[in-house]
């Protein structure tokens, strides 16, 4: 018996084919993982199975849910199945709760309006749903009073209250750190045990591994590989799948440590930082030499970015001091941002912006072209505006811009957390190359402890209460949990 099957789903935008015919089946007890990068069509496929594709897109094929056969293009027919047959866990669940309604009623309303329970019974059922997820006290809280993890549980309870046997989770770990990712995987597996069917759409190899079941790898709208998840990940057949797995920091070799030479470029002594009246970093000491990579990691909100800003001199320390090499020009300290689009002026072409920087720093003619070639960027990109360039390319352009100022210290603040794994590996590779070949000192912030472990010569692990600094061998990153 299959809970859900999709046959020959195709999606077109005008003449462009976004998704080649894809067929899949979901059986009870066996989760299905759809793995792919941004633009692979994985979310479109999920939307086609839920009837939520935008009207502008043409969709073909059929979807069978339980006993119902539906044509994928008949979007209205899916509406009646929501909550009753398919439960949808949206991306970023904390945005999926009504900010003006308390958590409990958001679960209870599904019991009352979808399952037609009387008001009192619906309340009690919602209460026990939340209690089962360890949220007895959250019933009367507003969403903004919940942590991200709690909001996620409330959203799961609300999505499943209608009693649907199939759960579809679209990028459930987007923007989460490693510890929370494990949490989500566990919750999804519980949902699977109770409901029967589970479809997880993700770009996250670790999540795919934890969910198990069957796997479909999508790339540019085409199925690259299918099979049992464990098997595909252990022994990938397609070249793309192999590249994807190779891009996972877990498989990276650890960096060969650079021996400190000469005077440090930046140094921090007993640094204590606070932002908006909240103390973030307490008593951190470190010294960073030319050619070294300092990895900074820790849960979100622990002060990783503030530490980097303090090293740059953008955030004055509350106590302690930051020392920079005395021969360091003010512009020899540069930064990369998490969202490169926001780091460029919106309305100017990239060529204009880079030209201004080259002019200001009296860069010799041809320097931009040389750097473009070195960072493997097409010169045509310079004619575009920041928003019209892909994230990976734009982050490399941001790196190029920083290099025009001939920096000796670079603070890279989560430079790859919004990028796909293969692009991430590429950018991190460039950073390592800059440290090795140009002798740049780099502070790299990431929420991914594995990435930091593989990339850094020196690690600073921040947590709410403690912080420790040392080599990758010394700092135990397994404790780096939320």
């Amino acid at each position: 018996m299959t809970l859900l099957s999709a046959d020959d789903i195709t999606i077109r935008d005008g003449a462009t084919r976004l998704l080649a015919p894809v067929s899949l089946e979901v059986s009870p007890g066996e989760p299905l993982v759809i793995l792919g990068e941004t633009g692979s069509g994985k979310s479109l496929l999920a939307q086609a199975m839920m009837g939520t594709l935008p009207e502008g897109l043409r969709v073909g094929g059929t979807v069978t849910i339980g006993a119902q056969h539906l044509r994928a293009e008949d979007r209205a027919a899916f509406k009646g199945l929501w909550g009753r047959q398919i439960a949808v866990l949206p991306q970023e669940p904390w945005l999926s709760l009504d900010p003006l309604m308390r958590a409990g009623p958001q679960v209870a309303e599904a019991h009352r309006l979808v399952r037609d329970l009387p008001a009192q019974a619906a309340r009690e059922q919602a209460m026990s749903d939340l209690a089962a997820l360890g949220l007895e006290h959250a019933f009367r809280h507003y969403p903004h009073e919940l942590s991200g993890g709690m909001a996620q549980r409330v959203a799961i309870a609300a999505a499943r209250a209608g009693g649907a046997p199939i759960v579809i989770a679209d990028e459930p770990t987007k923007g989460l750190d490693a510890a929370r990712r494990d949490d989500v995987a566990a919750l999804l597996l519980v949902a699977l045990a109770e409901s029967g069917g589970l479809v997880v759409i993700t770009h996250d190899l670790a999540l795919a591994r934890q969910i198990g079941g069957r796997l479909i790898v999508l790339r540019a709208g085409k199925v690259v590989e299918t099979g049992a998840t464990a098997q595909v990940l252990a022994d990938p057949q397609a070249a793309y799948t192999r590249a994807l797995i190779a891009a996972d920091p877990e498989t990276w070799p650890r960096r060969t440590a650079q021996q400190p030479a000469g005077a440090p470029v930046v140094e921090a002594r007993d640094l204590t930082l606070s932002r908006g009246g909240q103390r973030l970093v307490r008593g951190v000491s470190l010294s960073l030499h030319a050619g070294q990579i300092l990895g900074v990691t820790g849960p979100s909100g622990c002060g990783k970015s503030s530490l980097g800003d303090a090293l740059l001199g953008l955030l004055p320390p509350q106590a302690g001091e930051v020392r920079r090499a005395s021969d360091l020009a003010p512009t020899a300290l540069q930064k990369l941002w998490q969202d490169p689009v926001a780091a460029f002026p919106r309305t100017r072409s990239l060529g204009q912006t880079l030209g201004d920087v080259a002019h200001l720093h009296k860069a010799p003619k041809g320097r931009i072209d040389a750097l473009l070639a070195r960072l493997r960027l097409a010169p045509e990109l310079l004619r575009r505006r920041p928003a019209a360039v892909s994230g990976g390319e734009l982050q490399r352009l941001a790196l190029l811009r920083a290099m025009l100022a001939r920096p000796r210290f670079l603070f890279a603040d989560e430079p790859t957390s919004r990028l796909d794994p293969i692009t991430q590996a590429e950018i991190i590779g460039f950073l390592a190359e800059l440290a090795d070949e140009d002798g740049m000192a780099i502070a790299l912030v990431s929420h991914d402890p594995v990435l930091i472990d593989r990339t850094a010569d020196q690690i600073c692990r921040l947590d709410r209460s403690v912080s420790e600094t040392g080599t990758p061998q010394q700092v135990d990153l397994r404790h780096a949990t939320a």
Binding site: L312, K335, A343, T347, H361, A405
Partner: protein
């Protein structure tokens, strides 16, 4: 700012608005060239008479050519309004940028002042300034500027705060660019489109204000040709000469509609 181009073509509403305004401006500038005449010359014989070649829109109750009165009315209040908007826009841009850049008590004082002005009906402030200033046109300019700068200030300050705190400006500063460059390449391109919208609304508000006060006889004085004043003068003759009254009414409506359409978005 010479290098910034609008990424998308203007929506059709804006184009229609700009076209209406161009037509009105052409009429106001070229009107007396096409049909020479005076807005003040009276001829009681022709009181409320219909159109003729020397007066294409007919005559008012005092036998003055409505065509020429309208031409002058369409010069007077738009000019005052534009002058007030230019003053208010410049003041708002400078003070808003200053507040966002300096912060501290400079910002606090300006914000409290702007908030207080926001609480007072604009027409009331204009009325008080009119009573203080010598000369009605000067009084309107000063009063309207005083009322209108608040909107430009708030827009500029909000945009500047967001922009200045963003990564793009941080990057420019780290790279060694000075504030003039930051203003030119980061701030102005963000503020300019909002300023255009606010300026169109501001001009409409100013023209409405001048007409409204003229209509209740506390604005421009007779015999000045002014839209509101023309309406109240012609109101008693509605039955005899409906077209005479409709002339300033339609002109006002077209002017304000053009400005509203040009503004595109709406105030928030």
């Amino acid at each position: 700012m010479t290098t910034t181009t609008l990424s998308r073509p203007w929506p059709s509403g804006r184009i229609i608005g700009a076209a209406i305004l161009t037509l009105i401006a052409a009429f106001a500038i070229l009107g007396p060239v096409i049909v020479p005449g005076s807005p003040f010359a009276q001829s009681l014989m022709k009181s409320l008479a219909g159109p003729e070649p020397a007066a294409p829109f007919g005559y008012d109750h005092l036998g003055r050519s409505l065509y020429h009165r309208l031409v002058h009315a369409l010069r007077l209040s738009p000019l005052i309004a534009l002058a007030a908007v230019a003053t208010a826009g410049a003041a708002g841009l400078v003070l808003g940028t200053l507040a966002a850049l300096r912060g501290g008590w400079v910002e606090r004082v300006l914000v409290v002042l702007a908030d207080a002005l926001l609480a007072l009906p604009g027409l009331l402030m204009v009325l008080i300034v009119l009573a203080i200033m010598p000369g009605t046109a000067l009084g309107f300019w000063a009063g309207l500027s005083l009322v209108l700068w608040v909107e430009f200030f708030r827009l500029t300050r909000a945009t500047a705060r967001a922009t200045l705190a963003g990564p793009a400006v941080q990057a420019a500063r780290l790279l060694g660019f000075g504030w003039p460059y930051v203003f030119r390449t980061h701030l102005w391109p963000e503020v300019a489109p909002l300023m255009l919208t606010a300026a169109a609304f501001g001009t409409a508000t100013a023209i409405m204000g001048i007409a409204a006060l003229g209509f209740v006889s506390v604005g421009m004085r007779a015999p000045t040709p002014e839209l509101g004043l023309m309406m109240v003068e012609l109101l008693p003759y509605w039955r005899e000469a409906p077209m005479a009254l409709l002339t300033p009414v339609l002109a006002t409506f077209a002017l304000l509609l053009g400005l509203t359409l040009l503004a595109g978005g709406h105030r928030t």
